[in-house]
Structures are given as structure tokens and as C-alpha cells.
């Protein structure tokens, strides 16, 4: 079940965000536990900033602009870690733990 260099993360999509990710509501991924070192940037433990980058490279099927806004997600998308708004958890700097579940949802307008 994965080696020490990756951590298992559960991803959940809702409110329409799933259409950007192969229309799957749930995925479990093996995320590198450390970010790759690059130039002057040393490696660091995987955080949400890295997860979003990783997702956009590995999972996003198309239309990056509907998910990404620079290094973060579009303001129309709410991100929750283990059922809590990421704003309460440090946002992009939150360090992911094995088994964490990250939810990406968009608002629904219908009724």
C-alpha cells in the first residue's frame, strides 16, 4: 500500500468540480511525501500548495483556468481538509498527513 516516499490522500469533488477531474467524485492518490527540490528551492513536506500543483499536472483533464488561479484554486472553489475549511487550517501551507481527505466543491445554484 504505497511506499514511504508517498502518502495516500483521498480527494473528493462536488458541486460540479468533478467534471474537471474525469467526472469522478472520489479518488485516492499516492502523493510524493516531499516536494521535488528545484533550483534554490529545497524539498519540503507535501502541502496543499504542492497538492494543487500535482493535481493540475496529473489529474486535471482540461480547462486549467476553471480550477487554477496562479498557485491556488479559483475563488469559486471551496477547499476543505478533513471536513474543515482550509482557511482554518493554514490554507496553502497546510502540511498533508497520511490519510487526509481533501474536498473541492463549488456552489450549487439550482433548486
Amino acid at each position: 500500500m504505497g511506499d514511504e516516499r508517498t502518502i495516500k490522500i483521498k480527494l473528493t469533488f462536488g458541486g460540479g468540480v468533478e467534471v474537471l477531474f474525469s467526472n469522478k467524485r472520489n479518488q485516492t492518490i499516492a502523493l510524493p511525501a516531499q516536494t521535488p527540490a528545484s533550483g534554490t528551492q529545497p524539498s519540503r513536506p507535501a502541502d496543499l500548495r504542492y497538492l494543487i500543483l500535482w493535481m493540475s499536472k496529473n489529474l486535471l483533464t482540461d480547462r486549467k483556468e476553471l480550477f487554477l488561479d496562479g498557485e491556488t484554486v479559483r475563488p469559486g472553489i471551496l477547499v476543505l481538509v478533513n471536513d474543515t475549511d482550509w482557511e482554518l487550517e493554514g490554507e496553502l501551507d497546510y502540511e498533508l498527513q497520511k490519510g487526509d481527505e481533501v474536498v473541492f466543491i463549488s456552489t450549487l445554484h439550482g433548486g
Partner: protein, 285 residues
């Protein structure tokens, strides 16, 4: 309270923490339901049955046969009636003692403040993104709690915006959570995408329940409790079907609730984008 009312409401009045005080709070409450569609119908039913004394219904549309698979207050025979009047007729059949006020209009930047100001609590049962921002701004401007429901396809969402907190402050507004609307291409709010009737039913009933609990100060909304802002998400296809998510406090930089007077300015400016290619959607859910 008349004896008839003790008989009618007895099975809820004997509930722990309910009793006569809660029933009287319901009777003197004024609740506005914006949208008498898929969410509004079940919400209105349970508000009326429980004895909410004054209920306003905002809806500009007429009953159409395509509504009837989910808008359970309307009937085949009332096709063509304004929904607000069809709903009023249905509620008066359930509970003739209430004061039901139909507003046969859509909510806009001119009438939102005057209409909402005469109610205590607002239920957003619309399916129009522009109206959702308008209602939220108006509720911030007027300091009203907003019980917001949404449903599309197999999915639903429920949240209380501008929730009174034990600290004396208020929870986030709609704009705090959703500062910009999703793009049109992303989620098909604008095409006809379909919705399963019971999904609107579950969310609408939960909106009524939440409003009743806010009025009667029950459960998490009791003054001794600490209600925290949450977003309930529901999917008929999900396993589990329901999840309760803890959401952020107010954004300090929110244009509506972040500074005194901001929300009222937004309402008065009235620049609620017609998100869907300029065509106004149906208000009804």
C-alpha cells in the same frame, strides 16, 4: 393560545425544549421564502404545518407542468396560476390560521430591501445565481439570518449565512464563502440540467427545520449552545449521502459583510451579473 392550537400543535409542543414558548415564537415569527419551486414547496409546507404565523412567498412565475415532478405544493389543476398564489392556497388548506403573503415578483435591487425588511428570517429557495448574491447582500444589510438551500441533478447544499454566533457576532455571508460565482462552462447551472425531485425535497425540508430551530432557539441554535457555520452537502448518489463541513468565519475583506454599509451599497448599486449569457433564469427552483 386557542384550545384548537393545543390540539393541532400538541405533538410538537410536548417535545423537550419546545413547549408553549417555542410555539408562541413560531406564531409571532415572520419568515420569507424566496422561490416557490422545488426547494420552496417542501420548505413552505413544513413552516406552515408547524405554525409559523406569517409567511411571505416571493415568486414571479406561473405553475407549469414541468414543475410538477418536484414542486409538490402545486397541482395539475393550478397550471398557469402564479406560483405564489398556488402555494398560498395549498398552505391555507393545511393551516387556515396563518397569514400568508404572496409577492408575485422577482426579487431585485429595488424591492429586495423593502420586502425583506418586514421579515425575521429569509429562506433562499431560488435557482438564480444573481438572486443568491442579492439576497445575501440584502440579509447582511438588514441583519437577517439566511437559510440557503440549493439543489441540482443529484446534489444538494444547505447553509445558514449570517448566522448569529454566541460571541455576539455573525457567521460568514454567501460572498465570504463564494466570492466569485462558478464559471458558466463549469457546472451547467444555466442549461437545463435536470434535478431529482426528492433532492430538492430533502434540502427544502431541512431549510424549514433550520428556520424553525432558529426561531424557536432549538438544538445548536439554543442560546446556551455554540452553533458553528457549516455547509451540509448531500448527494443522492454519494456514500455517505450527507457530509457536514466546517466553514470559515467572515472574510475581513468581504465587500458585503467586511465593512459597515458595504452590503447596502452593493444592493443599491444593483450590479448583479446576469451570469448566464445575459438571459435571466427562472427564479423558481
Amino acid at each position: 393560545m386557542p384550545l384548537e392550537d393545543y390540539k393541532r400543535y400538541g405533538r410538537q409542543m410536548i417535545l423537550e425544549d419546545f413547549g408553549l414558548p417555542a410555539q408562541l415564537k413560531l406564531r409571532s415569527a415572520r419568515v420569507l421564502v424566496v422561490g416557490a419551486g422545488g426547494l420552496g414547496c417542501p420548505a413552505l409546507q413544513y413552516l406552515a404545518a408547524a405554525g409559523v404565523g406569517t409567511i411571505g412567498i416571493v415568486d414571479p412565475d406561473d405553475v407549469d407542468v414541468s414543475n410538477l415532478h418536484r414542486q409538490v405544493l402545486h397541482t395539475s389543476a393550478r397550471q398557469g396560476w402564479p406560483k405564489a398564489l398556488s402555494a398560498k392556497a395549498a398552505l391555507e388548506a393545511i393551516n387556515p390560521t396563518l397569514y400568508i403573503i404572496p409577492h408575485i415578483t422577482s426579487l431585485n435591487s429595488t424591492n429586495a430591501l423593502p420586502i425583506i425588511s418586514s421579515y425575521d428570517i429569509v429562506l433562499d429557495c431560488t435557482d438564480n445565481p444573481a438572486t443568491r448574491y442579492l439576497i445575501s447582500d440584502a440579509c447582511i444589510a438588514l441583519d437577517k439570518s439566511l437559510v440557503s438551500g440549493a439543489a441540482i441533478r443529484y446534489d444538494g447544499q444547505l447553509s445558514v449565512y449570517n448566522l448569529p454566533l454566541q460571541s455576539g457576532g455573525r457567521g460568514p455571508c454567501y460572498r465570504c464563502l463564494w466570492p466569485t460565482p462558478p464559471k458558466q462552462e463549469e457546472i451547467g447551472t444555466c442549461e437545463e440540467v435536470g434535478v431529482l425531485g426528492p433532492v430538492t425535497g430533502v434540502i427544502g425540508v431541512l431549510q424549514a427545520q433550520t428556520a424553525i430551530q432558529l426561531v424557536a432557539e432549538l438544538g445548536p441554535y439554543a442560546s446556551s449552545e455554540t452553533a458553528t457555520p457549516t455547509l451540509l452537502i448531500f448527494s443522492a448518489l454519494g456514500s455517505p449521502m450527507f457530509r457536514s463541513l466546517k466553514v470559515r468565519p467572515r472574510r475581513k475583506d468581504c465587500p458585503a459583510c467586511g465593512r459597515e454599509g458595504g452590503a447596502r451599497e452593493l444592493v443599491e448599486r444593483g450590479e448583479y451579473v446576469a451570469f448566464c449569457g445575459g438571459v435571466r433564469e427562472d427564479l423558481e427552483a
